[in-house]
Symmetry: C2
Subunit: 191 residues, 2 copies
């Protein structure tokens, strides 16, 4: 998605060779208008796929998933929680994921009533790096007897191997911008 | 907002006399189509107010703020973080807020580059109970030399005194559904 690559280059900043900071439009400040374009692009990429629910993880994934929901006919959006509130008092599915930027391990949780047998679930997230979060979300989907119909990421850090790992597991992966490498403060995208 | 009250009664569940669980459409599973109606209603309530930025707090506030952004002409949405990622490496504003449902104290943080002198900021959130989160967000706005032009909540628990507290401080508060009391599993709204 050319508009996205342009925005990453113009507004993003690079830390070392692994981190791209896109906090001006994606994960601290949000450009809600631009996210609608991202949502529309996800629909284009997954146009042939039946989706009856979108699953993401708090916090940055929420805006993306909601923006995409419009273009998929407003299926329910469910976001996995990193900590269970006291009101999550019944059964839930859980899977572990490591956060690359926070250096922590989160136990992602989804109330079991929101994942049902037969659900066709599209997983969307802001970043795809090692694929840890997506694997955890897919695990949760499968614990609930539902199907992962696709995994979409806004920005993929291709050199970290996450999409290869997910495709090896049989998932369809669509990333709107794939970063090949970050070197001397410059981002190179896959064509 | 009648449609909201109806949805709370039909889909919400009550825990004791203090907690209303609306995880089917607002803060775990999200009804993105309904949130657009909520966003539109916030615009009606704040139609006479100049807004150049919307501030909320992760996680549930994000979907609400982004839905509202459409109706305010897409000002930037900024969400306060409860934990600073390793990429938040410069200055930030910080204020403490207690979470009623989680029983924890969070230090809300916003990168200082996103709050600027002269900004006219609308604060939006899912719940307004004791008003702790709103007070913290307003504090952050004022640390940045910006102005709070209004505070909007989807659901107010009126008996917990938050809106009175905020109005005493001089803020304009708009809540789309105000709960008067919860008794024997039944919710009574303010008229």
């Amino acid at each position: 998605m050319e508009a996205l690559k342009k925005k990453i280059v113009e507004e993003g900043s690079v830390i070392g060779t692994e981190i791209v900071k896109v906090d001006t439009f994606l994960n601290h400040q949000i450009d809600a208008e631009f996210l609608e374009k991202i949502g529309e692009e996800f629909k284009k990429r997954f146009a042939d796929v039946e989706v009856n629910k979108i699953l993401t993880v708090e916090a940055s994934g929420i805006a993306i998933a909601c923006a995409a929901a419009r273009y998929f006919g407003y299926p329910p959006v469910v976001f996995a929680k990193k900590a269970a509130p006291s009101t999550m008092n019944e059964g839930f599915y859980e899977a572990e994921a490591r956060s690359f930027t926070k250096g922590t391990i989160s136990k992602l949780k989804v109330d079991s009533k929101f994942i049902n047998t037969g659900d066709k679930i599209l997983i969307l997230d802001d970043f795809l790096a090692s694929g840890e979060a997506s694997v955890a979300l897919a695990d949760i989907v499968e614990q609930g007897g539902a199907e992962v119909v696709g995994i979409g990421a806004v920005i993929e850090k291709g050199h970290q191997g996450g999409s290869d790992r997910l495709r090896e597991k049989g998932y369809r992966v669509e990333s709107l911008a794939v970063i090949k490498k970050i070197e001397d403060g410059t981002i190179t995208f896959e064509e």
